[in-house]
Amino acid sequence: DQQVKQNSPSLSVQEGRISILNCDYTNSMFDYFLWYKKYPAEGPTFLISISSIKDKNEDGRFTVFLNKSAKHLSLHIVPSQPGDSAVYFCAAKDRKIIFGKGTRLHILP
């Protein structure tokens, strides 16, 4: 039962370029979507969220886009930096938070 899907297990991006991480969901009742970042041996760290009534939220280098008709959201990181190398989890909330499997982002020097 994969209500939140991240179809790319890994992504490599050149430093300074844009990183785009994608996420699809199946449950139209989700009211919030979130992105978390995780380094090895640490817990997930909240990055950015978006309400289901919006289509874009921006915070510094991070922007999340929501396309409700396509049940798709994406996280854009511009410009990508070496410290952005981590696993990124897409998550969605109805009464609880449901995580995707994550995408490992490698920022190449």
Partner: protein, 115 residues
Amino acid sequence: EPEVTQTPSHQVTQMGQEVILHCVPISNHLYFYWYRQILGQKVEFLVSFYNNEISEKSEIFDDQFSVERPDGSNFTLKIRSTKLEDSAMYFCASSDGGRAYNEQFFGPGTRLTVL
């Protein structure tokens, strides 16, 4: 900067034994959560806790699991009779439930190994 802390960082136990995982949430937070991540798999919600009672739990959170807030600072997860498949990273999280309701702060996790 306030943070969620978890102890121990690694717990090894024999199958059938009881374990208690400890968490100290951020002090002014009111909502508390446990998640687990089996190696190579996604982070899974276990339970949420508010006002001294469980507010939501997943199908994973069966009768062998329980949570408790024994005092004003600790939040514990007890597994009564551990199974091999309980081996995972267990993450505690907390949130203040206000404007940042959706921003849960996670601890570093406890790695549970059941032998």
